[in-house]
Symmetry: C2
Subunit: 107 residues, 2 copies
DNA sequence: TGCGCCCCTCTACGGCACGTAGTACTACCC
DNA sequence: GGGTAGTACTACGTGCCGTAGAGGGGCGCA
């Protein structure tokens, strides 16, 4: 669903329907979905003539980060969960994290 | 729902019902919920006489980690998402992450 | 100036998960 | 044997999601 959306970065209107021909959906279906997504704050819409132009409210990475923080909130012991998470990511990803944290520290 | 569960660590049976008196649920309600959770793999059950004894399949932290990794899978650019995540956590949490990664490196 | 097309909004319907619970069966204890 | 406790099976309301149809209103072209 929003996968289709997060995929193509630029903003668009009901040409979204044309971008997903694989499942041949009724035009109204696409509209309804976009409408519901914008209603829930995942998408922003702006007028363009009589049509709407939709745009992701957040970047995909921001959304993912939000989800991760949300998951983190579920635990009683954030420190333990973070430690475990650090151990769970792959070596190369640990390296990426390490670098990002390093840069943070420098500021 | 599983909040109640993840809370009390030890394994138990339908005394769970007694542990949550605040919302006075019918005993069968608690049973159904536990049953459905075990069916979905969140809980393990073992026989104890004619009763079942339920036990979290995973620790809460393991579950949280799993959720976080799952969120991470949603992105196309894991590296960017991880970097962003590192920047999003609080300072003290960044420190925890840093330490966990340090220990990893030593091994 | 009227007809058709495009896009919108509103409404709907089936499916599924979830929270809640009732009923019916069974085994144990006194 | 009857009360109690525990189980399995079934059910109902609600809310979300994917899908879509019906109807209204501009805009452009003949």
């Amino acid at each position: 669903m929003d996968i289709l959306w997060a995929q193509s970065a630029p903003l668009t209107a009901r040409e979204v329907g044309r971008l997903i021909q694989d499942r041949d959906l009724a035009p109204t279906t696409v509209m309804t979905v976009l409408d519901r997504l914008s209603r829930k704050g995942f998408l922003n819409r702006t007028r363009d003539g009589r049509a709407w132009r939709y745009e992701p409210a957040e970047s995909r990475d921001a959304y993912v980060t939000e989800l991760m923080l949300e998951a983190l909130d579920l635990t009683g012991d954030r420190s333990a969960a973070l430690t475990r998470f650090a151990q769970a990511v792959s070596g190369s990803e640990a390296e990426i994290l390490r670098r990002a944290l390093m840069e943070l520290e420098e500021q």
